[in-house]
Symmetry: C2
Subunit: 784 residues, 2 copies
């Protein structure tokens, strides 16, 4: 695996108190007595705590996907009537429906806007070129693109930095359990929609596909938050959705709907979420996601039927079914395996090369972006200018080609779409490079996928197209506008695929258009390393099931070859942004380290007592940044059935719940339990509210500080635990499979004077990079 | 949820010592001291231990999907060179390739055999009918079917009872972690192949689809076992595959390949495994499964290309692409939503009704089957006779219909396939019921799916067809031949779909053939409750992507309606067979019970000491049937770092490993550790061998009984544990997600004299039905 370096500064000692989701700054004297670590250790396990979210450095917290089984939750849960349960189920489906509906509507509107804006632009330019007013045409083309880029980039830079880029890596991290602040807000959504329209219309080498995924996720998140207190509407029903688990499911639906809307591929959308985006998956979710994408498809179809009657301006037939090659009968033979394998191998090599170079360029761009907003803006505008110049001028290098009268297609075409662009040529001639460059990206793909036109493009034109889009694809992705990875890769891939088909000539039976399709799929697989979902997306896109066996073959080869070089592009971006993504499979060397050794490399645990002094709770909350504290009972008042002198591990209490209790000032005069009273003051819905004054903002009197809190009702009494002898590999599997935020380590020994909890593991502690920082010798062992 | 009763006798007290995967018969005095259960409990949690595998009652064990991290494993793992790791990866892919290849070849051969046998039969019968020799025709038809059924049923009854039925529920249980003995053996495979050919050729109302899934799984299991000691080949490389995890992955590949081969639907096959069959899933497995199905498709394509040249007898074009409707352009409008919704609703109602009735009939059949082999055989033959009589005689009720000269199709047809069968009619006329009944099942489906033929079938014929196949579908499934559920349901569904289309007449734009397709999909979804995979299978089957939105709509409605009545047919069969399948989602009432309370309802734990006397090990193994024993260290020789008076939970040791140690007689003279010596005698490959003498067959001398065993190197030192306060719901999520066999319960208290382990949970203990037996009041609470 290639080593990837990060955009985020490593935490310095001075910054160490900023840590958000780590553990223990304080020492618990009991917890260290038993440890004779077998491995030499560095004093602390560094806790990496900053990451890029969108284009902005943010503090990272984890999400609570675990069901927090405290008394309040249980009480609330038991008291839910069957009507409420039905309401909840009904709402889940309603929300899934709304996610699909809104994503479909927004996608339709985006398509409509892009097709019209870009269409008007292209029409004008075509007219000007046709009138030989080349300079005016150039000025108009470049100016329009420049203006559109300014709109998109300014919005992104000023209002919502998280709207830049594709958003897919952040969604992936969110679904893995990483809270990505400001990623799914209303401002992000609006900027993403407008910015995406601007950037795509500006002819930049980017697509609306990635942004649509993000838009779907934003819509889902906003719908699920209607009930939370930071929005005007506070509907009682929706309060049940104010938890991370249900939001996760909704966002999965949203991401699937986005992919579905981008490619009109409902099954592909579901599989994309399943294969690439989601970390957890249940059969019930599969079904709900499928429902959302079905709604999207119905909306898109309704929209297209409406537009068929010409009410949508320049929309016409473009935009949605990208590349329908269903009319082509695919014939191939065993002898075609070799050229197809070649496409796959080249796809794998090019894909990993693209990943490698994009990584370098993103790091370079980050240096520029750090210089401030103006630098970001200038970078975007520079790329726009370069793109416009290349797109406009390069076709002039190509000679005019006479139209082939044996083909059915209109030739030459003047106007916004069409395959054989007349451009600067006399009647009866067309400019093949203009057919690719003087078109929207969607049209370019459609043209290069066109079948039955083996003589249309000259090799040199395809080569120029390929080279140009390689450069553009690398330099456009990182700029501050909403951008997707799909389309640039499809453009590059289709170019080399078609070029290869042209070179092979008569050696193969497969049409050049299909070569282009296979090339695009191969490069996607080589860069993104997905197989099943790309396969299905391409089948739904091209509407031709007979491609299936070849497609599978190409995808498998490309992925295998690509994996030999470096990780997938999304993994590289996640790593680059420093998002603490937890992989599904542990590293081999993790079997050689126990969680006990890992815990020993961290400062001790900060425990609270079951009935704790307010002053102590406040002090602990202020002096640490941890989000979970073990609650340990010891001595009086002894719980029923507790043996003499024993200690009891009651569970884990969350910071947010402690703050909620302090905020409500639910204190007791003496050291006693108050389980029944608390139910009158709190519901589990209150605890779920994350917004409100921070611990620093809560003012408590001296008297209050001397009072007590009974933590029992707020404590998650059923935390997941592991023995200290558990290997890190197995603990990680547990952490990841059950979607935990905190994992308690309990001692393997049973006896007097032993602390019932040895340590707490969080997401940060289980990240390979972080562990290797503290145990550097492990890597060498694991290298074999 | 409908209450389903079982085929298996509830365990009686007399049978209690037969329990295989339960726990503790002996009392451990320490383990009970702390328990004051909050709930009144029955003395023991009954351990259900018998289940039907195939058609045979067997003892059920669980599988070890957890990585058993004992010293030997770790040592072995560390000593693997990178070449060996590469070998392992290479082998994994080679096996996946072979699974696909062999499944493809076997599927091709089965198709070839069926098409030829059934073809010759149908040709003869058609000729006899054409010559008006009705009685001879009847005798020939019935006799041939009878003979073919005898072959299939005799093989199943005598040689491999597990080959009867579809096998899908058992595969589902296996992948869930239930060992299903004799399910994947060579004899099962051979009987399944021959039996399936016989049963399908006999014209019974069953398909080759379910059996193909089982065949794929058998092939995968056998391939993975080539290295194990019960086969002649013992290849060193393959030894690494002698573990349940790798076999699980292979069987998943096999099941996907089987579905792929049945429907020629590679993506559908992968999704079928994902949605219905597999309990655990990883991204890497998705990819490998996809590879296997890709290989299957290539094999099938090669086979069909070969047969296209007429070298395959009567094979022709039949058999594989079941129903290609790609030529139909699907046009539909918003007004079609209503009829389509109606198809979905009826599909859901009929599907759940089918599930309900099939459940009753399977119970009835079980009473018959218990009477012995002859009863089974007679039942099968009776069904065969009834089927033959109906199929042959019913078409005589239908009047002859004049051929419609406006249609392109040949009419009438004489021969084995073809849509408009002449049967007993004069030239220029055809018998519509004969087109459906005097054909192989595949041809019948193809005919009923035929598009552009709105006048072909009369409503009364379709009604007769539907009624007949409802009866046959219910009574054929349970007989002792290899049978699938897919085809009977498709036949029923297509009949009512087409009938509905005929009734709607001009109210809908949708072709009757598509109505039939939608009806088939709806009934499948209504009975099997899958959505995404059925959708993809049907799309690949019909080769028409434009059906997608309607298909999704129908499937979602049918599943929703069906779920309102009863569980899916596979769940009903699993329940009926008593297979201890662990659901993904816990029951709501499981939150109200802690694992501590659950453990208290069981007899105490039988623990072993780290260095144990041979006599004690033998005694424990002989007196209990448990498969896992906690290893607890106490006193001398104290491990390094153990505090005075403390006890240590070292881990869990498996029965099979203890037996392996006894078999090798690796004993120590005194009470000491022997960690280093053991590595010379054992490798983890030795421990993985499950075959060998049972504990009862090992003879030990008096001297040997007085010696000691150091259990440490064999103990899984990293067992997963839960606190006794953990709710059963959360423990079950852990158990299921991480694929466990044993889950240790540790005390929440820490102090002197407390046992470090409170109990062990196994699969049986976490089954809802079992828990409710011990805690009957929970169900009432949970009913709300």
């Amino acid at each position: 695996m290639e080593e990837t370096s990060k955009l985020i500064p490593e935490p310095t000692t001075a910054a160490a108190d900023l840590e958000v989701d780590g553990e223990e700054d304080e020492q618990d004297p009991e917890s260290h007595s038993l440890h004779q670590p077998l491995l030499k250790r560095t004093p602390t396990l560094t806790t990496h705590h900053l990451a890029m979210v969108g284009a902005k450095i943010s503090h990272i917290e984890s999400l609570d996907y675990e069901i927090n089984e405290n008394d309040l939750f249980k009480h609330d849960w038991r008291s839910r009537s069957s009507v409420q349960v039905l309401q909840y189920i009904f709402l889940k489906w309603t929300l899934a429906f709304l996610v699909g509906l809104l994503t479909g509507v927004v996608a339709s509107l985006i398509n409509l806007a892009i097709e019209n804006i870009a269409g008007i632009k292209m029409l004008h330019v075509a007219r000007l070129v046709n009138e030989k007013r080349y300079v005016t045409g150039f000025a108009y083309f470049t100016g329009a693109n420049f203006a559109l880029t300014i709109v998109a980039a300014t919005l992104c830079v000023v209002f919502a930095p998280t709207a830049a880029g594709p958003g897919v890596p952040e969604i992936k991290a969110y679904l893995n359990g990483v809270d990505t602040p400001n990623m799914f807000g209303a401002s992000t959504l609006i900027v993403k929609i407008i910015g995406s329209i601007g950037a795509v219309s500006a002819g930049l080498d980017l697509g609306k596909e990635g942004p649509l995924v993000h838009i779907g996720a934003c819509l889902a998140s906003l719908l699920g938050q209607v009930g939370s207190d930071n929005y005007w509407l506070k509907w009682r029903w929706l309060q049940y959705f104010n938890n991370d688990r249900d939001r996760r499911d909704l966002i999965t639906c949203g991401a699937s709907s986005g992919v579905c809307a981008a490619f009109r591929a409902p099954v592909g959308g579901v599989l994309f979420s399943l294969e690439e985006v989601a970390s957890w998956w249940r059969s019930a979710l599969l079904w709900r996601t499928f429902f959302s994408t079905a709604v999207v498809v119905v909306v898109l179809r309704g929209f297209m039927e409406y537009c068929d009657s010409g009410k949508c301006g320049l929309f016409g037939k473009g935009g949605l079914i990208l590349f329908d090659v269903s009319s082509v009968s695919v014939t191939y033979h065993a002898s075609d395996l070799l050229p197809v394998a070649l496409i796959g191998i080249i796809g794998g090599v090019l894909g990993s090369l693209y990943n490698h170079l994009l990584h370098k360029i993103l790091r370079l761009y980050n240096l520029i972006n750090e210089k401030g907003r103006m630098a970001k803006l200038l970078l975007s505008l520079g790329v726009s200018l370069f793109t416009s110049i290349c797109l406009y001028l390069l076709p002039f290098l190509a000679p005019c080609t006479p139209c082939d009268p044996t083909l059915d297609a209109t030739c030459p075409t003047v106007g916004r779409s069409g395959n054989f662009k007349q451009f600067n040529c006399p009647n009866g001639y067309y400019n093949d490079l203009a057919s690719l460059l003087h078109a929207t990206n969607d049209d370019a793909v459609r043209n290069i996928f066109s079948t039955g036109t083996p003589t249309e493009f000259r090799p040199i034109s395809l080569l120029i197209f390929f080279a140009l889009y390689c450069i553009l694809g690398l330099f456009t992705f990182g700029i501050a506008v909403p951008s997707g990875l799909f389309l640039p890769i499809i453009l590059m891939g289709s170019a080399y695929g078609r070029l290869l088909g042209l070179v092979m000539g008569s050696y193969t039976y497969i049409d050049q258009g299909l070569h282009a399709v296979l090339g695009a799929a191969a490069l996607m697989s080589g860069s993104m390393r997905m197989t099943v979902s790309i396969c299905v997306i391409f089948l739904e896109l091209t509407n031709n099931l007979l491609l299936l066996p070849m497609m599978m073959f190409v995808l498998l080869i490309a992925k295998t070859v690509g994996d030999a070089f470096n990780p997938s592009i999304y993994e590289i971006i996640l790593e680059l942004k420093g998002l603490p993504f937890l992989e599904a499979n542990p590293e081999p060397w993790m079997r050689n380290l126990t969680v006990g050794e890992l815990a020993a490399a961290k400062p001790g645990v900060v425990s609270l007592r079951g009935i704790e002094k307010v002053a102590r709770v406040v002090e602990v909350l202020k002096s640490t940044k941890h989000n979970g504290f073990p609650v340990v009972d010891q001595g009086v008042p002894s719980p029923v059935g507790m043996p003499e002198g024993a200690t009891e591990l009651h569970g884990v209490v969350l910071r947010s719940h402690l703050v909620a209790v302090l905020r409500k000032k639910w204190f007791l005069q003496e050291r006693r339990t108050g389980e029944w009273e608390v139910r009158e003051k709190f519901t589990s819905v209150d605890l779920a509210q994350k917004k409100g004054p921070k611990i620093e903002e809560i003012v408590l009197t001296e008297d209050e500080m001397d009072m007590y809190i009974d933590l029992h009702p707020f404590t998650n009494a059923t935390p997941y635990t592991v023995l200290e002898t558990m290997s890190v590999a197995k603990a990680m599997v547990l952490f990841r499979q059950v979607a935990l935020r905190h994992l308690l380590i309990v001692p393997k020994y049973q006896g007097a004077g032993i602390s019932p909890v040895v340590g707490i593991l969080t997401r940060q502690d289980l990240r390979a990079h972080n562990i290797l920082g503290a145990f550097p010798h492990l890597e060498k062992k694991g290298e074999k």
